[in-house]
Symmetry: C2
Subunit: 208 residues, 2 copies
DNA sequence: CCTCCATGTGTACAGTTGTTCACTTGATGT
DNA sequence: ACATCAAGTGAACAACTGTACACATGGAGG
């Protein structure tokens, strides 16, 4: 039994997580989902749920872990494709929006979870955002675009950027997924928010 | 029947709305509340609910209306007490945080509703925030602190300010209501976000 | 080949849910 | 003084909920 991983790609477990995400994507709030509802959506008998999760909060926590992977993929995508410094923000926002469209349910879950019912899920998402902001700070340091900022002020700026982009989620989920015009409006507006922030960062003097 | 207002201060209706807020304040998510649960908390028989609301979404909408009043009170408070221009942001954030502490449940409800289950509630809250941002723009115009910005750019700035402050709600609700140290940290950080934004606004050139 | 055990199934039960209906009550406008 | 009607009550219902238990199964390790 040296290798304790009997499971093939844990079909049912994945089906249950996908089912929860599907329901969230259909407009339901995660906090209002029940075990029976999720198992029904997954095409599985209710008792199976307990083979993989203790309760809905537990499932939520494991969704947060997968959300982390989604965010990391997005970061890698951005690092690989944001080439010209002068279009940095426009391109980053475009990549963000593309990933939101490709993983809508995940990001809706994230937006819900920030003010959700489970403390643990809340904290998990907040910690993902903190990590994202710190990675962003590293990248900016490496690109040497913000040399006049000390570490604390750079962190402040990156936090604000991440928050601003995260708040745009609430805009994105309030328009239908195929309303290209509105989505483009949100993209432009978010880009300008970031530009405003970076103009601020460029003229920021550490002592207030 | 020229005056159709028989109701004395609609006791039960208010009790129901307060009960929902109380449950939200205790950590429950609005989307997971049921009619029976709310009536139980209000000390009222379940059928009474239907005398005042069609369903939980309806109650949510009426809560949004009251939330509007809370926000307007806060605005009035800010206008009356923010005296010195150079402390404008620090004082405004302080007033915001004080009102959040005095109406915790309302603001938790607002944070939840932004990514909530009911489209109508979502839109209601978003519209309150838009209104708030436009009032803020008016005030800033009157104070003539941002004369170099055209209307569109001033709106952009105020939107960003409101979003930033709104996002701080998720920080505030994640710390216990009497953890003065953490709350003060959030206050300072939010203030610096706003300062960063206004430094950006001060150096903003309309054509990008 | 046999045994084990993680995974999945079917049945069952008590508690809760939303909503209905017929009933009481008490303040109101005339 | 009286009729009216919004507001509140209590009992009832079928549908659904979370969870427990005993059982089936099939692939892995010996």
């Amino acid at each position: 039994m040296t290798e304790r991983k009997r499971r093939k790609p844990g079909e049912t477990r994945d089906k249950l997580m996908e089912a929860a995400l599907t329901l969230v994507g259909k407009g339901r709030h995660f906090a209002s989902l029940g075990i029976r509802e999720v198992t029904r959506q997954a095409g599985v008998v209710p008792t199976s749920f307990y083979r993989h999760f203790r309760n809905m909060d537990d499932l939520g926590l494991q969704l947060v872990d997968e959300l982390g992977l989604v965010l990391r993929r997005m970061m890698r995508d951005a690092r690989a494709n944001v080439l010209q410094a002068e279009k940095l923000m426009a391109e980053s926002v475009a990549i963000f929006i593309r990933h939101v469209q490709d993983n809508r349910s995940f990001f809706v879950f994230m937006a819900q979870g920030l003010a959700g019912e489970s403390r643990a899920v809340q904290e998990g998402i907040r910690s993902e955002l903190r990590f994202f902001a710190s990675e962003l700070a590293n990248d900016l340091r490496r690109l040497r675009l913000v040399d006049h900022l000390n570490d604390a002020d750079l962190d402040l700026t990156c936090d604000l950027v991440v928050r601003t982009v995260a708040f745009s989620l609430t805009d994105l989920i309030s328009v239908s997924a195929d309303d290209d015009y509105q989505i483009d409006q949100i993209r432009q507006r978010t880009t300008r928010y970031l530009q405003l922030i970076f103009v601020g960062a460029a003229h920021w003097q550490t002592g207030d």
